[in-house]
């Protein structure tokens, strides 16, 4: 798995397709792993079964929707921040909501950024372009955390 993997947590297929379209249009070549709900996201990050055998590589960035089936985006965020292995992982909330409550919840939960998806695809595409530029090129990633795992 590439070190430059992106994790997209999004339940709406249209939004997944449009997001991928925008990435492609803006020549962002990174692997994009798509998971469709909060539970899948947790499974991917904390590896319950198939990723269990080896030390899990973390994605470079998580694009997290808030309103998700099973486990909500904020709960996923809370899990990420509370686990020593993932607590520095950059998380950008990418959601339809511009509600104050959600923004507050996102930042309180430790999100690194909060982006409200515009209706207009041109605007959305521009947002994705800037997002890729900033988080994948400009932003310096956090140093990897060495976690002393107790033998299990």
């Amino acid at each position: 798995m590439s070190e430059k993997t992106l994790l997209l947590v999004e339940d709406n297929q249209d939004d997944v397709d449009l997001t991928l379209h925008c990435f492609k249009k803006n020549n962002i070549q990174n692997d994009i792993v798509v998971v469709r709900d909060g539970a899948e996201a947790l499974e991917y990050l904390f590896g319950s079964c198939e990723h269990n055998d080896k030390e899990q590589e973390l994605p470079m960035l998580v694009l997290l929707d808030l309103k998700l089936p099973k486990v909500s985006g904020l709960d996923v965020l809370r899990r990420i921040r509370s686990d020593p292995h993932t607590k520095r992982l950059p998380v950008v909330i990418l959601t339809a909501s511009n509600q104050e409550k959600d923004r507050a919840g996102g930042y309180d939960g430790g999100a690194n950024s909060y982006i409200c998806k515009p209706v207009d695809l041109d605007h959305f595409s521009e947002a994705v372009r800037q997002l890729g530029l900033y988080w994948l090129l400009l932003n310096q990633p956090p140093p990897p955390l060495v976690v002393n795992k107790t033998s299990t």
Binding site: N12, D14, D15, L18, H21, L66, K67, T95, A96, S97, N98, Q99, E100, K101, K117, P118, V119, D120, L121, D122, F124
Partner: protein, 494 residues
Amino acid sequence: MPHGHCYVWMPGLVWLHQLSDGLITVSYYSIPITLAYFAKKRADLPYRWVFLMFCAFIVACGTTHLMEIVTLHVPYYWVSGSVKAMTAVLSITTAIVLIFLTPKALTLRSDVELAALAREEARFRRVIESTPNSIVLVDKEQKIVLVNAQAERLFGYTRQELIGRPIALLIPERYRQKHPEYMTSYFSAPATRPMGAGRDLFGLHKEGHEIPIEIGLSPIETEEGAHVLASIIDIAERKRAETQVRELNESLERRVVERTAQLTAANKELEAFSYSVSHDLRAPLRGIDGFSQIVLENHADRLDPEGIAQLRRVRASAKRMGSLIDDLLEFSRLTRADMRWQKVHLSELVEEVVREQRERDPMRRVQCVIAPQIFVQGDPRLLRIALENLIGNAWKFTSRQQEAVVEFGSQQKDGQAIYFVRDNGAGFNMEHTGQLFGAFQRLHSVDEFPGNGIGLATVQRIIHRHAGRIWAEGKPGLGAAFYFTLGIGGEEPL
């Protein structure tokens, strides 16, 4: 030798003595009868026994005169002497008694004094009878000594039924046991206890029901010993009123709780609704716009120009709906946002809004007349939104005017400040004022003047949240004026 010899039996002289003594005797015998009759009839007379002494002494005197007549003819001088001796004893006794009695008799009230006393008592009686309170005087034996008409009415007894009866008669069974103790302790340390100094009490009516009362107590020392004067008021009416007020308060509180719960529930629903709108209604729009755009990008070669134009219209519609949703969400947020009351410099706020308008639209020439030093109580954030909309509208609707004028000021009417934003723009027909403040209601087409029709609805909601009113005046082509009040005199409503 009879006395007649001394008068040498001169008929004139004998008859003079005989007739005089006879008349005196008759008088002296009749006076005691009258006195005795008087004394018997006036049982209340003080020193009645003195009258008896007078009777005896006068009868004795009469008898001596009778003996004079007898001794004129027959010389019973021993008998007449004895009668005289008896009269002397009675006279001396009476005289001595009188000497001792006089100082005492002098203390007796004269008629004038008695009349004054009677008037005094009548006045006292009237005072007692006319006080609005019920009065009950109780002696140390806890017997009723005096009551007034109000007490009769309150307890349902006549005064004849009450005087001399134990006070317990007027006390409900459940307090009777304790009451003598209270009385005893009260008499041991008597003090005036004012009305309302403490507990609610109950009296017992003749018909057996209890009467809520309040009692004031005053100790009274009289010749007959210590008494307690109880001044009683019937508080049934007050109790009823109190109960009513309490019930009203309770029902009001209950209703407030219910309404608050309903309101909270409604607000929660509204919030859930907004949340859902915000999340779910926008997503399909993004799909509509996004995939239309992708079709335009990737498959334009397979569409004719009309198809391309129609797809563009699909995109425009989706975007417009997105902006409507945003406005709607903002509008509902304004309704729910907490009010932060403070003093607001409204004139300065208008200046700021105008400055921003000018920066946004540097090509426009608009003359702005802003009344200085207008201060109000309100939420500055909300008032700013309201003014942005009002000034923004004035700006927008004067866009076709050569000499655009926008005015802000205030005027006083009936002691209330009325604020206004006036322009000389497109105006409107007064027939349509009803639609003016409705959400998404527009009087002009979007092509003519752009907008979603949410501005004035927002303004109205903000003014309503300030407990104010808003209304508009206008004429097509001659401009519009929007008037609003903020609370009562611009003060924070209670």
